[in-house]
Symmetry: C2
């Protein structure tokens, strides 16, 4: 599909926006980025003995974020977190990010003196990118009736050393970083605030509300923790908690051909969150990993607490993949986290 | 944003679809793909002395394709062509493709005995992927009110040898592969056929119509030609003709800080296409490249004709970037191809 441009001067519009992004994006030869925005492809170099880790994550308005709930900076931050968190789960260091954006035309223009939505989106994304030394190396931009963002992250990891979902073995202990359920609890609160404000723009937040919503609005990818685990050979398998503990642990069990047992009383619940938030809420972007019983797993990695929450079992036909141990005794835990088309 | 699943059995839906794709996708250790679908990231290896080339391209229903004009196989083929063509323009060999899909729920289910839209999309994409030995290594899948596909291609190229947009120098000759305008002419014809059939599904095509529409429905990425140019050091700059000659040549001029002259009478027009189709139509996915006057550029590369269409000039302030030489004499040629938000 092609259309004739409605504007006789094509220097405005996409080209101009791309130029602004190009000037704003950090360039970092150190990461491995050799050629960024401005050619048919970006060019990236790996260090000797490294392989590339690649992940893509699609975020769609009304599904993964809401224009009337989330500020543009928040959407940018959360979009990049999704990608960086996948690198963290493999123990990879980021080399470069790419963002494909589909946006309604009105989100690309300034209203009065306010910055356009798209620029505030990049502000949020680029601030997190700078924190994690991740240059924005390209992407695509298209007009779309629906706002959407597809994030691509390229990372690097020494060959054969990536943390995989498939490495868990019976007898291994199960651990999580940080606290669980904070994102789902924050989303619930945000929904109430937005509904009460009845506006088409995100609600204004007090400092106290911002703090309560932080795990949902500004989740931190656990890159230093993933790197530590890989460098110390401490984890047998790992995944990031994007879809919820019940679903992500199922992925580990399926890929490792094992079962697992989770101790409900051991789960590090985030303040204000429920057991359901912690088990099925998703978007905490903490790391879930297994380690052999003899592995030395510290209680804190790079400033973030680590908690043992269960263990890996031999998988048996007819038995549940995951068993939840609570005060009511053992019960099967089925994946109830995020899944599309279910 | 999270939602509770409406289906109590999450093994159907996304997981099941991903499993089918995983089984169907070609695995190819030869290309460099070490770990494909099924973990947080895919893992890719480069050969010694290579760097990675990365490109992303977003296609949106109603903008880049139409569900009532294009068959699902065609959408899959064209989506992958967009990405492979960017690799061709750099002279890179493909390592792996990633596809993020947003689809309305009804496109993921079978209607009666017919295959679901999404499976036919993958049929079209995977057939072209097989032709170019490009394994599908991952992606994302989300429910979306609007059909959209973001394609990511990772390729490899010997370090420092990629064909860039920025290498054209005054005095260089300008060349294109194949014929121009066939895609835009085909799109016009397709629009007429679809409008006459008044259906919500793509029109049935006769063999003759299919042939006329071929450049639009099944464009071929010029990977062998890009590889040849790079391996023989024959091109000083290159780009693929995705947005139209007038726009893509502007990119070369801007990145190389030069101007250019195009001889209208030399343009290899595709049968049935007009000069406007050839200059501004886009989506031909031919290669546009420059070469020094002493470079040996054959008339045919890997079975595809190559035509000299003009030359590179010194850029001068106040003069047009591109001049079109026609029977009416010289006239400025401004970029009038595809640009969003213009």
């Amino acid at each position: 599909m092609r259309r004739q441009p409605s504007n006789p001067n094509p220097r405005t519009g996409e080209l101009s926006l791309l130029r602004r992004i190009r000037a704003q994006a950090p360039h970092s030869a150190a990461s491995g980025l050799r050629l960024g925005i401005g050619d048919d492809c970006a060019l990236l170099g790996l260090r000797s003995g490294e392989e590339a880790a690649v992940t893509t994550d699609l975020s769609i308005a009304g599904r993964h974020f809401r224009l009337d709930w989330h500020s543009p900076e928040t959407v940018g931050h959360r979009t990049l977190t999704r990608g960086l968190s996948d690198l963290a789960a493999m123990g990879a260091r980021p080399i470069a990010a790419f963002i494909s954006l589909g946006l309604p035309r009105e989100l690309t223009f300034a209203k009065g003196r306010a910055k356009p939505w798209v620029e505030r989106f990049y502000d949020g994304l680029l601030a997190l990118a700078a924190t994690h030394h991740t240059p924005l190396a390209g992407g695509d931009l298209a007009e779309s009736p629906l706002a959407l963002a597809d994030i691509v992250l390229i990372g690097a990891v020494p060959r054969g050393q990536a943390l995989l979902r498939s490495g868990a073995r019976p007898g291994d202990r199960l651990y999580v970083t940080g606290a669980l359920g904070g994102s789902a609890a924050g989303l619930e609160l945000l929904g109430k605030l937005a509904t009460n404000s009845c506006k088409t723009t995100p609600p204004a937040l007090s400092a106290k509300q911002k703090k309560a919503l932080w795990p949902h609005l500004a989740p931190e990818p656990r890159l230093p923790q993933g790197l530590w685990l890989r460098q110390h050979g401490a984890a047998s398998a790992a995944i990031d908690l994007s879809d919820g503990l019940s679903t992500d642990l199922t992925h580990i069990c399926e890929e490792s051909h094992v079962a697992a047992e989770v101790d409900a009383t051991a789960l590090p619940l985030h303040a204000g969150s429920t057991m359901a938030h912690a088990l099925h809420g998703g978007e905490d972007y903490e790391l879930l990993f297994s380690a052999t019983p003899t592995a030395r797993v510290p209680r804190v990695i790079a400033g973030v607490p680590v908690t043992c929450i269960g263990r890996i079992l031999r998988g048996r036909a007819g038995c549940p993949l995951i068993t939840l141990l609570s005060e009511n005794g053992p019960e099967p835990l089925s994946p109830q986290g995020w899944e599309h088309f279910s």
